[in-house]
């Protein structure tokens, strides 16, 4: 008798119409038909020979093809006599030792960064995302990097409006003088710099869109990440808001700058005080398994959630918004993507957020 053993690092996420097999060692994810999930479950209970007896001649050929695929993709291996019991299942627990791991802040000047610098150091925040409404000069980019020169900040992402001074010399000089910045996004650009190299310390994006804080929360395949840390976080916690802190343009401390609930203001409160608020971590445990539609989606552990913009259709027993993210156009029941912004069923929620944004 031969037995099929699935490697411990292979995670199967069952959706309503397809399955996603994630290889957490190679950081890859592939889509497969739903029936492969049932076959893997059968192979986990019975030997290959016993499983084959359950099928007619034509189906046996398909089963064999599936087995070949599982071996070819190195999702598992075959043993004879019994399953190999030396490989225990991988723990799906997730531990993050930081109090707050990332901060998303809207700014229209650098003074607020100076103000919260000591809190960022005390809380040992690893990643900063800075959305600037005003043009940032060369000196201001340097200042931002230097504010956190000796702090535990591991990386800074800056989004800033494009302006005339930004050219290849600007970027090259920045490349030699900044250390913590890992990504730069220039929005509202008129013409793209054509001579840019691609071996800078940071990645650069140009977009002609006029970005605002309301632009966030988009769900598409470009934003999916397959790696063990991200996937385990998504299995156990909310994949966007867990250990995130946000500060809006007025200095209000929130879970995300685009969310309405306020836990203090940087003018009067420290970040440490704000996170002690009993409701600050209320969304942290809301996983994709408890969000409408997402709970039936095969991408739920590689996708990143959004609680700032949702379809506003469901609330759970604790009063938390557990509706599908508004800016997701994927329908897991038919396995198809569509343009979320033209979906008639979303227009009520879209209008609601438009009204809020214009206030």
């Amino acid at each position: 008798m031969r037995y099929f053993n699935l490697f411990s690092n292979i995670l199967i996420t069952k959706g309503a119409s397809r399955i996603l097999i994630s290889d957490l060692q190679r950081n890859t994810s592939e889509l497969y038909p739903l029936e492969l999930c049932d076959l893997i479950a059968e192979l986990n209970k019975s030997s290959i020979e016993e499983v084959l007896t359950l099928y007619d001649h034509e189906s046996k050929i398909i089963i064999q093809q599936y087995l070949d695929l599982l071996l070819e993709e190195e999702y598992g291996f075959i043993t004879s006599g019994d399953w190999d019991k030396n490989f225990i299942p991988m723990s799906l627990e997730y531990h993050d030792n930081s109090t707050i791991s990332n901060l998303f802040i809207e700014i229209d000047g650098l003074s607020v960064l100076q103000k919260i610098k000591s809190s960022i150091e005390k809380l040992e925040i690893k990643y900063l995302t800075i959305f600037s409404h005003k043009n940032l000069s060369y000196e201001e980019f340097l200042k931002i990097d230097r504010y956190f020169k000796k702090s535990p900040v591991e990386g800074i992402d800056i989004l800033s409006p494009y302006h005339q001074s930004i050219d290849d010399i600007f970027i090259q000089n920045l490349n030699s003088e900044v250390f913590r910045i890992y990504n730069l996004t220039f929005y509202s650009y008129k013409e793209k710099i054509s001579t840019l190299k691609d071996d800078y310390r940071f990645t650069i994006n140009f977009t002609n869109q006029k970005l605002t804080i309301n632009s966030c929360g988009k769900v598409n395949m470009d934003y999916f990440n397959t790696n063990i840390t991200k996937v385990l976080e998504a299995i156990n916690y909310n994949s966007c808001l867990y250990k995130k802190i946000g500060i809006d343009l007025e200095g209000n401390i929130k879970n995300c700058p685009a969310m309405p609930k306020i836990f203090g203001n940087v003018k009067t409160n420290s970040l440490e005080e704000a996170i002690k608020h009993s409701e600050f971590p209320e969304y942290w445990n809301l996983t994709k398994d408890h969000i409408e539609t997402c709970k039936d989606c095969e991408f739920r552990y590689i996708c990143t959630d959004c609680r700032a913009y949702t379809e506003l259709s469901h609330k759970n027993d604790n009063g938390l918004d557990c509706s599908k993210p508004l800016k997701c156009g994927y329908n897991p029941y038919i396995g198809e993507w569509e343009d979320w912004s033209t979906n008639q069923l979303k227009q009520k929620a879209i209008n609601h957020y438009k009204i809020i944004a214009n206030k």
Binding site: F104, Y127, T129, G155, R180, N225, E233
Partner: protein, 58 residues
Amino acid sequence: MKKIQEPNKLPLTFKYIEFIDRKKVFSGKGKMLFIQCEKYQTDFYIRERPLKALIRML
């Protein structure tokens, strides 16, 4: 590679050790960047990108 005179018998895995190409790791695209961190008292703090998309605006 210089032959190492090891007095004790080495584990079998020794011959499978992959040597890091320092030139590749410390230069060029995707290079490892060391930064200072006073709090952790090191000059060899690694600049890292987050493992997920923290914001999704584009």
